[in-house]
């Protein structure tokens, strides 16, 4: 069952000069990259410019951002697993979650419920997540029905193009409906307070950061149980493994695919509320870059692999948070924070080039291609 992703060289063929050059180039590339990271890190740390608190802050930020990436990545990884397609519109599904959560929050705020007392705040937050997950799921199902289902048997490139179309459609529909300006989440007061628990207070955490990490871990655990233990979860895994055989076994392939989209979208929608509450400001384009990064996280962990998406999300979040300062500051790059996104996209390229199966390995069936 094990197949390599890159074209395997047959042992009987000798390497051409061109191939030798390519492989030498790739090695030089790797060495250069490792040198860059190592030298940059050593220089930064030895310079002693940054205190331990700074690093702790960054690590916390990375974990929080990573949790959100991980939640979005689950949708990518599950859909890729079952349909072998990159759901390019998934970032927009996440963005719709942000908006749905926002409108719920505004409604609750105007009703005076949002910050009335801690209990109503918690209920409000859960309600926001629920409504955002529902809205995202509904939109994702509509997209699946209109843009993906009719093309299920088409070449994958066609599906990808349709997905790009869906992504733009959703982005600019939201821009048209709600305007292209920047929105701000109403604050939930209790989530902005510092955590005053014995062990955690040293880290200087805010409640919202704890909530994001805990919620992300909890949802991932639930999703994992759902996929591994429930009947429909088993069906999803079977269909991911082999659509035809699954159909012959009496599994409703269509239902499995639709459920996959729904579950992935619900995770993304809930992640949208976490994102909105955490960062506060957002607009119609807010889903695009996080979407691509979450895809990176999915690839990083090994696409099709649910624990992989979680690991990938957190690793990417940390790499992004720490990486730009750790590597670039020592090398004397001005404003290293600007290059945060470069790190994420470089990781994407590196993983695909050097370890396409990801950290935990891919869980894909034969039809990988």
């Amino acid at each position: 069952m094990k197949t390599t992703l890159r074209p395997r060289r047959s042992p009987s063929r000798t390497e051409t000069a061109f191939e030798a050059a390519v492989s030498a180039f790739l090695w030089a590339f790797r060495i250069l990259l490792v040198l860059l990271v190592v030298v940059g890190s050593i220089l930064t740390i030895s310079s002693g410019k940054f205190s331990v608190e700074t690093w702790v802050d960054l690590i916390v930020n990375g974990a929080v951002q990573g949790g959100i990436y991980a939640l979005i990545a689950l949708g990518y990884t599950m859909v890729y697993g079952i349909m072998k397609m990159i759901n390019f519109a998934h970032g927009e599904i996440f963005m719709i979650g942000i908006f749905a959560g926002y409108f719920t929050a505004v409604f609750l705020d105007e009703a005076g419920f949002l910050n009335a007392n801690p209990l109503t705040s918690i209920i409000s937050f859960l309600l926001m997540m629920l409504i955002a997950a529902t809205a995202s799921t509904l939109v994702a199902l509509a997209v699946e029905r209109v843009a993906y289902r009719p093309l299920r048997n088409s070449p994958r490139l066609v599906l990808l193009i349709s997905a790009i179309g869906a992504s733009f459609f959703l982005q600019y529909t939201i821009a048209g409906l709600f305007g292209s300006g920047v929105y701000r989440y109403p604050t939930i007061d209790i989530l902005e307070e510092d955590v005053a628990l014995p062990l955690l207070s040293a880290l200087g955490l805010k409640w919202i950061e704890v909530v994001v990490i805990v919620a992300a871990l909890l949802m991932m655990a639930l999703l994992y149980l759902f996929v591994m233990r429930s009947r429909i979860g088993t069906a999803i895994r079977a269909v991911s493994e082999d659509k035809q055989t699954a159909a012959l076994m009496g599994i409703d392939v269509n239902r499995a695919i639709v459920t996959t989209f729904a579950v992935g979208a619900a995770m993304a929608g809930a992640a949208g509320v976490l994102y909105g509450t955490l960062w506060g400001i957002f607009f119609f384009y807010s889903g695009f870059i996080p979407g691509i990064k979450a895809f990176t996280a999915a690839v990083l962990g090994g696409i099709g692999n649910i624990p992989g998406a979680m690991v990938g999300g957190f690793v990417l979040g940390e790499a992004e948070a720490i990486g730009s300062l750790l590597i670039f500051d020592g090398l004397g790059v001005p404003a290293p924070g600007q290059l945060k996104d470069v790190i994420a996209f470089t990781i994407l390229v590196m993983v695909l080039v050097f370890r396409p199966q990801g950290i935990l390995g891919e869980r894909l069936s034969r039809s990988r291609a």
């Binding site: 992703l5 074209p7 051409t16 191939e19 390519v22 180039f25 790739l26 072998k84 397609m85 990159i86 409108f103 843009a147 289902r149 009719p150 088409s154 070449p155 490139l157 066609v158 990808l160 193009i161 349709s162 790009i164 179309g165 869906a166 992504s167 733009f168 459609f169 982005q171 600019y172 529909t173 821009a175 048209g176 409906l177 709600f178 292209s180 082999d242 659509k243 035809q244 699954a246 159909a247 392939v253 269509n254 695009f288 691509i292 690839v299 404003a335 600007q338 290059l339 996104d341 470069v342 996209f345 470089t346 390229v349 695909l352 080039v353 396409p356 034969r366 039809s367 990988r368 291609a369």
Partner: protein, 612 residues
């Protein structure tokens, strides 16, 4: 509710009729939903600024009217047999579609929708409730949600009557129906272009009177309407009675390809292309130059995507390389390092982008197809971030970019006046034309070469291609490099067209636009790409008041519709058409997938290579 006035006896027929009536309702609701969507997204409001017929109907209103007529038309198709049933069905569908808007008027102000949906403004309610036509003032109570607008019934009534009209339309013979559609369509298009046609006509004494009679500054005047309809009728009669297309098709091949026919026809076409921007003033030459520029880049990506099947979403990376190279080598800004003439900088920019393509392409070309799209997208983003970063600011100017890039002729020391036929945009147009000719020549020659066939083989099935002895990485990197080179060329011309490069133009949307051009025009087809550029870039540029948001909205819809209903594009290559329809399998998508094809992605959008 859908029992309807059918008079059937057999319960089977009744069942069928019931389901037909249900479908009529659903059709009406779907059209109503679409009308509601375009209204709330703001398209109707924006288009209401633009008249088709002066003081009579705006484009925004026309969109709503057409949605009701469409509902009636489709509703009639779904209704049970019989003329009476059809008309009733179409009226019901129209009623449903209008009722959706009526509902908006009823509950919108009460719920204070405008607070969340900026487009649900008073102007919009006035528009859809026909306040102006009926001469009704909607009162303040209405806006406070204390009273209903008096004319909330307006869309439903209009919808019902227009729906019935649509139903009548479906009962007409085909010839008459086509004539009406053609008339309405031509009227809309000339109405849209009225302002653009009017201003040059006003400048000449001969045409200025006609211009005033026919066109308002916004839309057609009544004499113009009659003129357009008359011309349409005449052309249609000629088309139906004399059938020029059939006659042309029936001509023997020898006549069609006889030098005495081909050479003058070719000469006229060439002359037309060369003279195209000369007949216009104002901003039109810039639009033409922009279309040519995008067509040029489309032809470049067409090699990567259309021939080799590599979806490159990082086209903008090489575009940036080309643009910045030209800016650095020919600019007059602080960071520029030389002031070379354009015929030196453009080739250097192309080669630089090609080198970049090789450098970036080598590591990633082992990656499977859809991953490649994302990786290249990542490249595009990396380059965009670097372009505006402080890191490269001393070299390429940071967020401010580089300005002061001379136009081609200025770069070799020739100054032209503003009114000259060789004004800035026109220079760009001719440079683009020459580049396009070169690229098209290369594309056609390569397609029929050993390399081109290797690309097509890779596109269809990578594993088989490798088994046949094709070196995958080498062949793919050649395609990628060529695509990159032409992207660089595009960037170089772009920098000259705008006279500056800013990081804000290094944008993922450039990559997407070019993919949209190719998909809409027809993958692998050279005329298709040109048509795609005209449709995707040219048309929206002519209607500047249509905000960019709606453009991308429409592109998104177009992508979904085209891959679903016309995967070969508007103007496909011959092979493309055959490929797309030879493999037509029942794609209901409900059942299990066809036999596993591990290579499905490398078959890519299996369009073809065929060119003109």
């Amino acid at each position: 509710m859908s029992a309807g006035p059918t008079t059937t006896t057999a319960s089977g027929t009744l069942q069928r009729d019931l389901s037909a009536w249900k479908q009529v309702f659903i059709v009406g609701l779907l059209f109503g939903g679409a009308a509601l969507y375009v209204t709330l997204v703001g398209i109707v409001g924006t288009l209401a600024e633009r008249a088709v017929i002066d003081d009579v109907v705006t484009v925004g209103e026309l969109v709503l009217l057409l949605s009701a007529i469409g509902a009636g038309y489709v509703g009639a198709l779904r209704a049970p047999a019989g003329a009476v049933n059809k008309i009733i069905g179409s009226a019901i569908a129209g009623l449903m579609s209008g009722a959706v808007l009526s509902l908006l008027i009823l509950i919108g102000p009460a719920l204070d929708l405008g607070e969340y949906l900026p487009n649900a403004s008073r102007d919009l309610y006035d528009l859809i409730s026909g306040a102006e036509i009926l001469g009704v003032k909607n009162t303040a109570e209405m806006w406070n949600g204390e009273a209903f607008p008096h004319t909330f019934w307006f869309p439903a009534v209009i919808g019902t009557s227009l729906g019935a009209l649509g139903g009548l339309l479906s009962l007409l013979p085909r010839v008459a129906r086509n004539l009406i559609l053609l008339g309405v369509g031509t009227l809309t298009i000339t109405g849209l272009f009225a302002g653009i046609m009017r201003s040059p006509m006003l400048q000449h004494e001969l045409t200025s009177n006609a211009a005033r009679e026919l066109f308002a500054s916004n839309g057609l005047r009544m004499p113009g309407v009659f003129l357009v309809l008359g011309v349409v009728l005449l052309v249609y009669l000629v088309w139906v009675l004399i059938e020029p297309k059939r006659r042309y098709d029936e001509l023997p091949k020898e006549t069609k390809e006889h030098p005495a026919v081909v050479i003058p026809a070719g000469a006229i076409a060439l002359l037309f292309v060369l003279m195209l921007p000369l007949g216009f003033t104002g901003f039109i030459p810039s639009v033409i130059a922009l279309v040519a520029l995008y067509a040029l880049m489309g032809l470049g990506l067409n090699i990567t995507l259309g021939l080799a099947g590599l979806l490159d979403l990082g086209f903008v990376a090489f575009f940036a390389v080309g643009a910045y190279t030209v800016a650095l080598l020919s600019g007059t800004s602080d960071v520029s390092i030389a002031a070379l003439p354009f015929f030196v900088t453009i080739p250097i920019a192309t080669l630089a982008a090609m080198g970049f393509g090789l450098l970036l392409g080598l590591p990633i070309l082992g990656i499977r197809g859809d991953y490649l799209a994302i990786v290249t997208l990542g490249f595009g983003e990396i380059i965009a971030i670097l372009a505006r970063s402080d890191l490269l600011k001393p070299l390429i100017g940071g967020p401010a970019g580089i300005t002061g890039i001379p136009k081609p002729l200025a770069s070799i020391g020739i100054e032209v006046g503003a009114g000259s036929w060789l004004s800035g945009p026109n220079q760009i147009y001719y440079v683009s034309l020459i580049s396009m000719a070169v690229i098209a020549f290369i594309a056609v020659r390569l397609r029929d070469s050993r390399l081109g066939r290797a690309w097509i083989a890779i596109r269809e099935d990578e594993d088989v291609a490798e088994a046949l002895g094709i070196n995958l990485v080498q062949t793919k990197s050649l395609a990628y490099m060529l695509g990159a080179a032409f992207a660089g060329l595009g960037g170089a011309v772009f920098a000259m067209l705008f006279g500056s490069v800013q990081p804000s133009s290094i944008n993922i949307n450039v990559s997407i636009l070019i993919v949209v051009i190719i998909i809409i025009g027809g993958m692998g087809s050279i005329p298709g790409v040109v048509l795609g550029a005209i449709v995707v870039i040219g048309l929206p540029e002519l209607f500047r008041e249509i905000a960019p948001e709606y453009r991308f909205l429409l592109y998104g819809i177009a992508l979904i519709l085209v891959v679903r209903w016309r995967p070969e594009g508007l103007m496909p290559s011959r092979v493309g058409r055959q490929e797309m329809h030879a493999g037509d399998t029942p794609t209901e998508g409900e059942g299990p997938a066809p036999p596993d094809r591990p290579d499905a992605e490398s078959a890519s959008a299996s369009s073809a290579s065929g060119g003109a």
